[in-house]
């Protein structure tokens, strides 16, 4: 079983009806010596049936965005601004009642570590069923039958329904988590590094399963990872985050063929391409900035190989440097500007 490489470019977001719109989202962590601006004015749109990849280093704010969308951030993180619009309503303004309904019904989430996201003292069947029972009027038997069906769908034998998480392998656990995420057929699924804790072979299987399920059920995915090679395979569109901001966004193929931002270029050079000639891997020198006092101007300038005089003074505007290809970098002053 191999994953289909789907960077063939489905229609761009503008032709799709938007499912969820994140507008100028800001999240801060209140720390002892000031607040950390983990997400600083991020705007992102996910179309119906679209898979959007969100990539960046650890600490760039990817997971914080995911949790802010569902409003499950734990203190000391607080949302300080922006809107998350879904179906004409702002999730950030919703009452607790509406929020409980929205969660899992409209947006579900697959967490990074399947072992840690399953309750060790409940069977996987019960963990599928309690999402059903709390959202739908459904009898115990019907819920159980539905849970068995969900397990079959993700490729687990239905009679494993009474298994506990520790009785399943890593890959099966992640499948079980996907079954839970899928049970209410939500239009949007957030996947926060769903394959990071798995070995490479199992990663492929899970990725193939996700692709297959998406084709069958047509939900949208916000796919968060630091692994660019995964995004090639699964995303329609990719956004690159650096230090709490989106620095570049384009269709997958476009981004891979023409990475504009020096940071994106660095990310691309730091993992091996699946196809094409061998080349030397390079990392990005330096480490992510301290977000309590982020660098002035462009936040990437201390690490940037193409640094110019303007970079530490003025923050670059987020512009459409090529058709449907957005970037925030002083190398591209106008929409006609191209790399090299």
């Amino acid at each position: 079983m191999t994953a289909t490489v789907s960077n063939t470019g489905s229609p761009v977001s503008k032709t799709r009806e938007p499912l969820i719109q994140i507008q100028n989202l800001k999240v801060e962590y209140l720390a002892g010596r000031g607040s950390v601006r983990a997400v600083d004015g991020v705007s992102l749109e996910i179309g119906k049936g679209e898979v959007v990849g969100l990539a960046g280093e650890s600490g760039s704010g990817k997971s914080t965005i995911a949790q802010a969308i569902m409003r499950i951030l734990q203190p000391p993180a607080i949302i300080t601004g922006g809107k998350v619009l879904m179906g004409g309503r702002d999730i950030l303004e919703m009452s607790d009642r509406d929020l409980h309904k929205l969660r899992w019904e409209e947006i579900s989430m697959v967490f990074q570590s399947a072992m840690n996201s399953l309750n060790p003292v409940m069977t996987i069947g019960d963990q599928i069923m309690d999402a059903l029972v709390s959202h739908r009027k459904i009898s115990e038997e019907a819920a159980r039958e539905h849970a068995r069906e969900m397990l079959r769908i993700v490729g687990i034998e239905a009679d494993r329904i009474d298994s506990y998480p520790h009785e399943l392998s890593g890959g099966m656990r992640q499948r079980a988590v996907i079954a839970i995420a899928l049970v209410l057929r939500p239009p949007l699924m957030i996947m926060d590094e769903p394959t990071t804790a798995l070995d490479v072979v199992v990663q492929r299987e899970i990725l193939a399963k996700i692709t297959e399920l998406r084709e069958e059920f047509g939900f949208s995915i916000l796919f968060i990872t630091h692994d660019m090679s995964l995004l090639v395979e699964i995303s329609d569109r990719i956004a690159i985050m650096y230090a709490g901001e989106i620095v570049e966004m384009a269709e997958s193929r476009e981004l891979f063929e023409n990475p504009l931002h020096p940071y994106t270029q660095g990310l691309m050079a730091s993992f091996p391409a699946l196809t094409g000639p061998r080349k030397k891997l390079e990392g990005i020198p330096g480490s992510p900035p301290d977000l309590i006092a982020p660098p002035s101007g462009c936040r990437f300038h201390p690490r940037c190989p193409h640094r110019m005089d303007i970079c530490d003074k003025v923050a670059p505007k987020y512009i459409e440097a090529r058709p449907n290809h957005f970037v925030a970098c002083h190398l591209y002053p106008t929409s006609e500007g191209t790399a090299e």
């Binding site: 499950i72 734990q74 840690n116 996201s117 709390s134 520790h166 839970i180």
Partner: protein, 327 residues
């Protein structure tokens, strides 16, 4: 299920070891129960030698070698024969312990369960609403109460509520004018006599349960499965109890089991101060009256209770934590 079997075997060995220690330790101490008994009997005046022989036989005092005595002792224990109490003569030890046991279990068992329940629930809620006024107030208050010495607070309660205000009876487990039947008068009298001692125990012990539960719960709440349960849109109650408390309960249960066993030995102060006719009260009286058979029986009882309580907790663990069922 081999896990259960292993535990049972373990506890059987532990029981055998403690029974054996219980036999040899007193006999290795200077002075021995036999001569004390003898002196006691002689002190009652001129008694014919046949009577002394008969009494010695009744009490099970013998001059056989230690190893034979040990086998006799083991046989007696296996057949439930603990001899006759000298201070409650001629009641057999088992009979004396049985009544004391019932009162202790009623009194201290109730106190422990109430204290565990209150402490755990306050701990769970405190952790859930961390930083709320309730979470800021309850732990210090109960820890303060818990640090009051029991031998001070219990007599104070007794003085205030039994003597000064006379809201509660000052001593014993029930009104001795009533016959022990299943009548409302008798039962309400038993409950009335329990209230003050139970309150005294609960006051000093809630703090420990509260802190233990709160700390474990806080750790559990930062687990991904709790976040995921919240993301699932489950009700707060379901997340708090089904996902949080259910997991936080596991480590707390061990300490609950330990205290369950120590109910029997640890009730000494309570039963002394409130003159409650349980095992602690019996133990004090048996020591005062040098009633060796009763003492031995009580120590045995306490040992078995600790072991049994731990076995029960182990079995309960199997129910609560599916991860233990394997291996």
């Amino acid at each position: 299920m081999s896990y259960i079997l292993k535990r049972v075997v373990f506890y059987l060995i532990a029981a055998w070891a403690s029974i054996t220690l219980n036999f040899f330790l007193p006999r290795m101490m200077p002075g021995d129960p036999g001569s004390v008994l003898l002196a006691k009997l002689r002190g009652q005046g001129d008694i014919r030698p046949e009577v002394i022989d008969a009494m010695m036989k009744a009490y099970g005092v013998s001059d056989d070698p230690l190893i034979f005595q040990y086998f006799d002792y083991m046989r007696n224990i296996l057949t439930g024969e603990f001899g006759v109490s000298t201070s409650w003569f001629p009641a057999p030890v088992t009979e004396v312990i049985r009544t004391g046991f019932i009162w202790t279990v009623i009194l201290i068992g109730t106190a422990l369960i109430i204290s565990f329940a209150i402490g755990s629930i306050l701990g769970v809620i405190g952790a859930w609403k961390r930083g709320s006024w309730m979470d800021n107030v309850t732990p210090p208050v109960f820890v303060f109460l818990g640090s009051l010495p029991y031998f001070w607070i219990a007599p104070m309660l007794l003085f205030a509520f039994a003597f000064h205000f006379q809201w509660f009876p000052p001593r014993h487990a029930y009104n001795t004018d009533l016959s022990p039947t299943f009548s409302w008068a008798y039962i309400s009298s038993v409950i009335g006599h329990m209230i003050l001692p139970v309150i005294s125990v609960v006051i000093v012990s809630v703090g420990g349960w509260l802190l233990g539960m709160r700390n474990t719960m806080i750790a559990i709440l930062s687990e991904d499965y709790v976040t995921m349960a919240e993301a699932k849109g489950l009700s707060s109650r379901r997340v708090m109890f089904g996902y949080g408390a259910r997991n936080a309960l596991l480590p707390t249960l061990t300490s609950f089991g330990m205290s369950l066993g120590f109910i029997l030995g640890g009730s000494l102060f309570t039963e002394m101060i409130f003159a409650y006719p349980g095992l602690g009260y019996l133990l004090i009286n048996s020591v005062r009256g040098l009633d060796y058979p009763l003492m031995q029986g009580l120590f045995m009882m306490i040992t078995f209770a600790v072991l049994l309580a731990n076995l029960i907790v182990d079995l309960l663990y199997v129910r609560l934590d599916p991860r233990i069922r394997k291996s």
